[in-house]
């Protein structure tokens, strides 16, 4: 049933966010640390585990895929409630402070990505041998 997929997704999300909140308060930080990440790992692990036992039927899976396909529309809705006016009102200081870091961060990506980049032509069996 489709609700099984939706419920599984909900349980994973709630659990991950809870772990993220707990980790945040443990570190004394007012933010959720890695909650969505933990939820993702749990979902991957559980769906894999269930599928291997034939317990995750395509109908159940469609409850998860529907929400993953709703992701872009939801992101558009998220964009529509950003404080764009606030960003513009921040003036040149806010504009430069935000922009320069982004430009440098973009520039760093290819260099950091070179570290431990999996060679696409290396078969999976050789993975780990040549890692720097």
């Amino acid at each position: 049933m489709v609700i099984y997929g939706v419920a599984l997704l909900a349980v994973c999300s709630l659990f991950g966010l809870l772990v993220g909140e707990a980790l945040g308060s443990l570190l004394g930080v007012k933010a959720n640390v890695g909650g969505v990440g933990f939820a993702m790992i749990l979902l991957l692990w559980l769906t894999d585990w269930l599928a291997k036992r034939g317990r995750f039927k395509p109908v159940s899976a469609s409850g998860v895929t529907f929400w993953s396909l709703m992701y872009i529309p939801i992101v558009v809705a998220m964009a529509a409630q950003q404080n764009v006016l606030g960003a513009i009102k921040g003036g040149p200081l806010a504009f430069l402070a935000g922009t320069i870091g982004v430009v440098l961060s973009f520039a760093m990506v290819p260099f950091i990505a070179r570290i431990g980049k999996p060679k696409s032509d290396v078969p999976p069996a050789d993975r780990g041998k040549g890692a720097a």
Partner: protein, 255 residues
């Protein structure tokens, strides 16, 4: 009649949200195909359209939540709010490869630290260039350049003034919006076309809304990898900015 319509829309906010966003996306894909021959991805235009709505909403309502501050469009706020956003982001992990995630551990950690520190230093340097000389203000604006959550968290911890806090949040908003718009444009030149680079990208840029929307507009298949890394960024920023990074700032500007 108009009162009836208003009531119907107001009571069914989430449905209004679905309809509005559906319309925006339809229009965006139409523009993408007809005017850019698909070169500018439909979802990139849709995100930009969303930001445009946010601007219009801000002008008309004077609030902070874009279009969602107009009562009829409050449902857009529910649809794009943290709950459904996290829910659907987690869903994108379904079908991602565990192996790809595991391989990129060390580079992602490096990306997270490098991203937070570089953004903080850039923001702080700009604050200095604009005449700020006290460590609290410089660190708060620097933290805002990390993300718009790290900024106010740091400012509150250090006791920054409210105008500095506002600038700090604005810097973070500029970052988020810029990442949304610029990611699909620079994707090719930074090699953002595989899970590994997507994770490094998520770790380096880190702003959750920026990364999630930026990747959605670039290649939806990369979303789970980038977001997985980015989910640690704000937390790391909240950890480093008011502590180590502030202390380092105070060593340079001991006021």
């Amino acid at each position: 009649m108009s009162e009836l319509l208003y009531q119907a829309l107001f009571k069914n906010g989430l449905l209004v949200g679905f309809a509005v966003v559906g319309g925006v996306i339809w229009l965006s894909y139409f523009v993408s195909e007809r005017f850019t021959h698909g070169r500018l991805h439909g979802s990139a235009i849709a995100v930009f359209g969303g930001l445009l709505l946010a601007y219009i909403g801000g002008v008309f309502s004077g609030g902070k939540n874009g279009i969602a501050d107009l009562p009829v469009f409050a449902g857009v706020g529910l649809m794009g709010g943290a709950m459904l956003r996290d829910f659907s982001i987690v869903a994108t992990a379904y079908g991602a490869s565990f192996e790809d995630l595991k391989k990129s551990g060390l580079p992602v950690v490096i990306a997270l630290f490098a991203g937070v520190i570089v953004s903080f230093v850039c923001g702080g340097a700009v604050a200095f260039a604009f005449g700020y000389r006290d460590a609290v203000s410089i660190a708060t604006i620097g933290a805002g350049a990390v993300t718009y959550i790290v900024g106010p968290v740091t400012g509150a911890a250090l006791g920054a003034t409210s105008d500095v806090m506002a600038l700090s949040i604005a810097a973070g908003l500029v970052k988020a919006i810029l990442v949304m718009i610029a990611t699909p444009l620079v994707a090719k030149s930074i090699g953002l076309d595989n899970p590994h680079t997507a994770m490094v990208y998520g770790g380096t840029l880190g702003t959750n809304s920026g990364v999630s929307a930026g990747l959605a507009a670039t290649d939806p298949k990369l979303v789970p990898y980038g977001v997985m890394a980015a989910t640690f960024y704000t937390g790391l920023g909240c950890l480093l900015a008011p502590s180590v990074l502030y202390l380092a700032t105070r060593m340079i500007f001991p006021f």
